[in-house]
């Protein structure tokens, strides 16, 4: 299996790099390619099995959009071909239709895989937790974001929310999914936090690894699920 990690030198906020690290330890015999922002992504010219990108600052986000916008058709072809993409935190926003940076008074067209618009306001920070179902897998996660989303993702969400919220409070559909392209506002350590989902992701990418330190990860996961499902836990 070949896994490409995009722009990890700058898309590395909030623990997101641990997705790639956990995958490396879970699939030690597989090939990991790290592509920097000043390099051409490998997926532009060859087929990886999985592509990962993590959270970033807003100024970097605009540079990433400039980098990926010309590759939109290629990304769509890879999605049709079943390649797994995991875009976490505000890496997900890059694939929406447009982003309105309210504080900086800038609006940019994003890659536009999904008809979702994003408004990013540095004076509106949202922190929350989510537990939900992704294709039969219970997934837990945390969100910390400046972004607000508008649009309807009910037909192409990543998670059906059990507790917490999706695009906005009261909204029960989290993230976006097109075939194996997963874009979630949940922050990066989603794989070590959810070892069974990690196994699911490896499987759909055609790999044969298994989640590293599974028993330790599962014990932490079970404790988290119990807390998240406890009615006295505030969301």
């Amino acid at each position: 299996m070949k896994i490409e990690i995009l722009f990890s030198e700058v898309c590395n906020q909030f623990g997101d790099p641990q997705n790639a690290e956990y995958l490396k330890q879970s699939c030690p015999s597989d090939t990991f390619v790290y592509t920097a922002l000043d390099e051409e992504p490998c997926f532009a010219s060859s087929r990886p099995d999985m592509v990962i990108m993590g959270s970033m600052s807003e100024s970097i986000q605009r540079k990433v959009i400039l980098k990926l916008l010309p590759l939109k058709k290629r990304i769509e072809d890879l999605i049709d071909d079943g390649v797994v993409f995991l875009m976490t935190g505000n890496a997900a926003d890059v694939f929406c239709r447009k982003i309105d940076y309210v504080t900086e008074k800038i609006t940019v067209d994003a890659v536009g895989l999904f008809d979702i618009d994003v408004k990013t306001d540095w004076f509106k920070r949202v922190n929350s937790k989510v537990i939900g179902d992704a294709d039969g897998n219970t997934v837990t996660g945390f969100r910390s974001q400046f972004a607000e989303y508008s649009g309807d993702n009910s037909e192409f969400c990543f998670l059906k929310v059990e507790r917490g919220f999706g695009f906005r409070p009261g909204h029960m559909y989290e993230g976006m999914r097109k075939k194996n392209f997963i874009a979630t506002q949940l922050l990066g350590p989603i794989l070590p936090l959810n070892p069974d989902f990690c196994k699911y992701l490896i499987d759909i990418a055609g790999g044969n690894g298994s989640p590293a330190h599974y028993e330790l990860a599962k014990e932490a996961f079970d404790k988290r699920v119990a807390e998240f499902r406890d009615p006295s836990t505030e969301f």
Binding site: Q13, R125, K129, S144, P189, L216, F228
Partner: protein
């Protein structure tokens, strides 16, 4: 002066007196009341002769305490909020407590620790004469997001009239406040590290021209001497520079303007050397006699809530602040413990956020953003993660390469402390979050008792 301000001042002072009557310190609420009643309350307060503010991600409290302590020892009266809150309400409380009913200052110097997030609310009304910024690092992702955001807030808030004292070795910090023409830099040239690999995750490309940055050397994260091969922007030369650190004699030297002075090394943690140098720089720039500053510096101690060392029987107990939710602070604390020249260390880690874990489930993303690799060090024989997030901490440590056989966990802080085998270990390190000082104190006392009992 408006009636509204006078009413707010009277109400706030009254509330402070009532709160203190009940044995609480009232370090924030009176200020909040004052600002509720008079939103521009801070604007109406007359400031002391000199106003020194301290900000930055890590080291604010240590630096602020140090500066305030030295100024007091030099014979001046000081308004200071270091024992209280560093947000707008805390700053207002400290100032109003030391003001007359009409808002005139009773003290000569204000030394105010100001939270970066509160900068817009504080500097809108107060123009400090001097502002020290220790560093801009990753902090609570929930509150502080990322360094771009904090740099934006600080840059938007401060008047260009303020004389800024900046960390030359922090490429983000040294670039702040470009409109402030009075600029002084501090840094460390001693113990220059071998590494020239930029391990920073926050500044990789030049903010001016976009070229990938290079480094002469890097101490940790983006702290070091960095330059851009594209536009030739580089870390500024420090005006105040730590030129020598002699841990064997517990001294260090700072060079400024061709003169070099020797200071007592209160603590050898490199992050504290930056705090010490920043403190000396601001006091000298503020006009205090450098020789007297040096003499007063040598009488200071780091407050025990930050660092403490006790010997009890055969036990050596070190308590070290490791601020939860703050990836760099925790990683530096791990690194500091690993660097100490002892063997067979036992480390108790208690970095959960007490408030976030009350009727809640703390976001653990910051744990995954923290570098745990220093805990792999051979000198550390056992690590006990204590608190509700102990399973996440253990997993993160194991992913970082820590041998799982040397890790034990406990959901309860005190039960975790009781797991320490004081017959087996004589060097015990307790890393703790700032919001569990009372629990840390109780655990410290428990370990002291164990140490004395072992001696008997």
């Amino acid at each position: 002066m408006s009636f509204r301000f006078l009413f707010a001042m009277a109400a706030a002072k009254l509330s402070r007196a009532v709160i203190r009557l009940f044995g609480r310190d009232g370090s924030c609420t009176p200020g909040i009341i004052a600002i509720r009643l008079c939103p521009d309350f801070l604007r109406h307060l007359k400031m002391p002769d000199k106003v020194i503010c301290i900000t930055g991600t890590n080291g604010k409290t240590t630096t602020s305490n140090l500066v305030a302590g030295i100024v007091r020892d030099l014979g001046y009266t000081v308004t200071n909020n270091s024992l209280g809150s560093n947000v707008q309400g805390g700053v207002a409380t400290a100032l109003l407590a030391d003001s007359t009913l009409t808002g005139k200052p009773k003290k000569q110097v204000a030394v105010l620790e100001v939270d970066e997030r509160s900068s817009l609310l504080v500097y809108k009304y107060i123009t400090p004469d001097f502002l020290v910024c220790n560093n801009i690092m990753r902090d609570s992702l929930k509150r502080n997001a990322h360094t771009d955001f904090i740099a934006y807030i600080l840059g938007s808030a401060l008047s260009e009239k303020t004389h800024v004292i900046l960390n030359a070795d922090d490429f983000i910090c040294s670039s702040l406040f470009p409109k402030c023409l009075s600029r002084t830099y501090f840094g460390i040239s001693a113990d220059r590290p071998d590494s020239d690999r930029i391990s920073s995750r926050d500044i990789v490309y030049c903010p001016d021209c976009g070229t990938r940055l290079h480094a002469e050397y890097v101490r940790f994260d983006h702290i070091g001497r960095i330059y851009c091969p594209g536009c030739l922007k580089k870390s500024p030369e420090p005006d105040y520079c730590v030129t020598e650190i002699d841990a064997s004699r517990d001294v260090f030297k700072i060079r400024h303007g061709g003169e070099e002075r020797e200071y007592k090394l209160v603590n050898s943690n490199i992050v504290n050397l930056y705090n010490f140098c920043g403190a000396v720089a601001v006091l000298t720039e503020a006009g205090f006699d450098p020789d007297k500053v040096c003499a007063a510096f040598n009488a200071q101690k780091i407050v025990k809530s930050r660092y403490d060392f006790i010997e009890a029987g055969k036990l050596s107990i070190t308590t070290q602040l490791a601020k939860g939710q703050n990836p760099v602070a925790c990683a530096r604390a791990f690194s500091y413990i690993a660097s100490l020249p002892k063997k067979n260390k036992c480390v108790l880690v208690m970095t959960d956020d007490k408030h976030d874990n009350t009727n809640n489930s703390e976001s653990v993303c910051w744990i995954y953003d923290t570098d745990f690799s220093a805990l792999r060090d051979d000198s550390i024989s056992e690590i006990i993660f204590a608190g509700k997030r102990c399973r996440d901490q253990r997993l993160r440590a194991v992913i970082a390469g820590v041998d799982p056989r040397k890790i034990r966990i406990n959901d309860d802080l005190f039960e975790g402390a009781k797991m320490i085998d004081t017959d087996k270990y004589s060097d015990i390190y307790v890393l703790h979050d700032p919001y569990i000082l009372s629990e840390t104190g109780m655990i410290k006392n428990y370990l002291i008792e164990r140490g004395k009992a072992n001696e008997d």
